[in-house]
C-alpha cells in the first residue's frame, strides 16, 4: 500500500490524523467527530480507515483497539525501540492466569475465577490488574450473594494489541471446543443430559472417548 500524495488528503483526513496524534489517550470515532466540531462520524470512520492504510508499512501505525484509535510504533521495530528503563514489572503467573480468565470469560466473578484455577485468588492479584487499568468491576451478578463481576477494559485491548475481544488468541477454537463453558454445562453435555444437546457433537465424542480409555 503506497502513501497517498499529501495533496490528495482532504481537510477531514488531516484533522483526524492530527487529532488522534495529539490525543493523550485512544479515541473513538465518535469522540474524534465531536472534537472536530461535529464532523460526520461516517466520514471520520472512512478517514480513519484511509489513514490506517496510509500508515501500514511505516514506522508508526494507526490501530483500532476496542473501538478506540491510536498511533503506535510498528511491532517489527520492537527490537530497536525496546527500552530497559521501561521494563515493566513482570506479572506473577497467578496474575496472568487471572487476567486471561477475565478476558476469555468476562464478565466473571472471583468464585468463577477460583473454580477454574482450583485455588483461592490472593487479594493482591486482582488488585494488580485493577491498578494496571486492564480489569474493571463490571457490576454484580444477580444471583444470591450478588458477587462482584469483572471484565477487561479498553486499556487491556490497547496494551495487548487487540482490536477487540474477538482477537484474543485462540478464542474461537476455545469456544468451539466448549472450553469456555462452565464444567457443569460441559459435563451435562458430555453425559447427554436433557436440554444439553446443543453442545458440539465432536466434543461429546472426544470426551466419551476419553472416558472409554479410562475405564
Amino acid at each position: 500500500m503506497a502513501w497517498q500524495p499529501a495533496e490528495a488528503l482532504d481537510i477531514l483526513e488531516r484533522a483526524v490524523e492530527a487529532a488522534v496524534f495529539a490525543a493523550t489517550a485512544p479515541m473513538t470515532a465518535e469522540a474524534i467527530a465531536a472534537h472536530l466540531g461535529g464532523a460526520e462520524v461516517g466520514g471520520v470512520r472512512a478517514a480513519l480507515a484511509r489513514l490506517a492504510q496510509d500508515y501500514a508499512g511505516r514506522g508508526v501505525h494507526l490501530v483500532e483497539r476496542g473501538g478506540r484509535w491510536h498511533f503506535q510504533t510498528a511491532p517489527d521495530l520492537a527490537h530497536l525501540l525496546r527500552r530497559e528503563r521501561e521494563e515493566q514489572r513482570r506479572l506473577s503467573r497467578a496474575a496472568t492466569e487471572v487476567l486471561a480468565i477475565v478476558a476469555y470469560h468476562e464478565p466473571v466473578s472471583r468464585a468463577e475465577i477460583e473454580a477454574i484455577r482450583g485455588v483461592q485468588t490472593a487479594k493482591g492479584t486482582l488488585d494488580v490488574l485493577l491498578e494496571a487499568g486492564w480489569v474493571r468491576v463490571a457490576g454484580r451478578r444477580e444471583v444470591p450473594g450478588r458477587p462482584v463481576i469483572y471484565a477487561t477494559t479498553p486499556a487491556f485491548l490497547a496494551h495487548f494489541g487487540l482490536a477487540s475481544r474477538r482477537d484474543l488468541p485462540g478464542i474461537d477454537e476455545l469456544r468451539a471446543a466448549g472450553l469456555l463453558d462452565p464444567v457443569d454445562e460441559a459435563l451435562a453435555g458430555a453425559l447427554e443430559l436433557p436440554g444439553r444437546h446443543e453442545l458440539m457433537p465432536e466434543t461429546r465424542i472426544e470426551t466419551e472417548n476419553a472416558l472409554d480409555k479410562n475405564e
Binding site: A19, T24, E86, V119, L174
Partner: protein
C-alpha cells in the same frame, strides 16, 4: 461417600492453606499452585492430549507423589491431602464393578476432573499467548509527548425575563430618595451649658466634679435620662471651651476617672 461433593468442588470451596503451610508447600511441591495445578502438570507429562489422558494413571502419579512428600516428612497442605483422599476414592470406584456404583458415577467424577484440567490448561495457554503479544509500552510505543486536545470552556449566559424586570424594579426601589424626619428632641444646647458653667464657676474656686454642674435630676424635666445625657455632653464641651479660654482648669486623675474642674481668677 460424603467426601465427593466437597472434593468435586474443591476449588473455591476450600479454605486457603495457612501462610506457613503454603510456604512449606512452595518448597516441597516446586511451586505448584494447589492440587489442580500439580495434577495438570502430571497430566501434561503424559504427553498426550488432555482429552485422552489416563485418569487412573494420573491418580496413581498424584498419590505416589503425595506419598513421597509425606515420606520426606514434609508438611502437606490440607487441600493436597483432601485431593489425595478424593482421588483414592475415585480410583477405587473406577476399579469396582459397574453395577455397584452409586450416583454420581465414578466416570462422571473422572470426567469432571478432566474437564477442569482442560479448562485450566486452556487458560494457562491463553495467558502465555497473551503475554507473548506485542505489548504497548514494551514492544510497541504510543506517542511519547502528545500535545493533548484542548477543550475550552465557553459560558452560555442565561437570564430569565422575570429576573431582569425584577432587578430593575428593585434597583429603583432601593435607590428611591428617602426623606428622613428627625423628631424634635429636648437637648441642652452648648450655649446654655456655657452660660450655666460660667455662672457656677464664679461662685467657688474649689475643684468640682463635672457631674455637679448638671441640673439636679429630681428637677422635673431633668429627670429625663436622654436630656441628662445631652446636658452632660454639652457641659463637657463647655468645660473644654472654658479651659481653652483660660477661664477654667480641668483635671482627671485616672483614665475614665471623674473629670473635675474649677474656675480661674482672672
Amino acid at each position: 461417600m460424603n467426601l465427593i461433593p466437597a472434593a468435586a468442588d474443591f476449588g473455591a470451596a476450600q479454605p486457603a492453606p495457612a501462610a506457613g503451610d503454603a510456604e512449606a508447600l512452595h518448597l516441597a511441591l516446586d511451586g505448584w499452585e494447589g492440587p489442580l495445578d500439580l495434577l495438570l502438570d502430571l497430566a501434561r507429562r503424559q504427553k498426550v492430549d488432555l482429552r485422552r489422558i489416563s485418569i487412573l494413571g494420573l491418580v496413581d502419579q498424584y498419590l505416589s507423589y503425595i506419598d513421597r512428600a509425606e515420606a520426606l516428612r514434609l508438611e502437606l497442605a490440607a487441600d493436597y491431602l483432601v485431593m489425595a483422599a478424593w482421588l483414592a476414592y475415585l480410583k477405587s470406584a473406577l476399579l469396582l464393578p459397574r453395577e455397584e456404583q452409586e450416583e454420581p458415577s465414578p466416570e462422571e467424577l473422572a470426567l469432571r476432573l478432566q474437564l477442569r484440567l482442560e479448562r485450566l490448561a486452556a487458560m494457562r495457554d491463553a495467558a502465555a499467548r497473551l503475554m507473548a503479544r506485542d505489548r504497548l509500552g514494551r514492544d510497541v510505543f504510543a506517542r511519547g509527548a502528545p500535545e493533548g486536545l484542548r477543550v475550552d470552556r465557553r459560558n452560555a449566559w442565561t437570564c430569565e425575563w422575570f429576573d431582569l424586570v425584577q432587578a430593575y424594579g428593585q434597583v429603583k426601589a432601593r435607590t428611591a430618595p428617602v426623606v428622613h424626619m428627625v423628631r424634635d428632641r429636648k437637648v441642652m444646647t452648648l450655649d446654655s451649658a456655657l452660660s450655666r458653667l460660667s455662672a457656677m464657676l464664679g461662685l467657688t474656686l474649689d475643684w468640682l466634679d463635672l457631674q455637679a454642674f448638671l441640673p439636679p435630676s429630681g428637677d422635673g424635666e431633668w429627670a429625663d435620662p436622654q436630656l441628662r445625657r445631652s446636658a452632660l455632653a454639652s457641659s463637657f464641651v463647655a468645660a473644654l471651651e472654658l479651659a481653652r479660654l483660660g477661664k477654667a482648669e480641668l483635671a482627671q486623675d485616672e483614665t475614665f476617672g471623674p473629670l473635675r474642674l474649677r474656675g480661674v481668677r482672672a
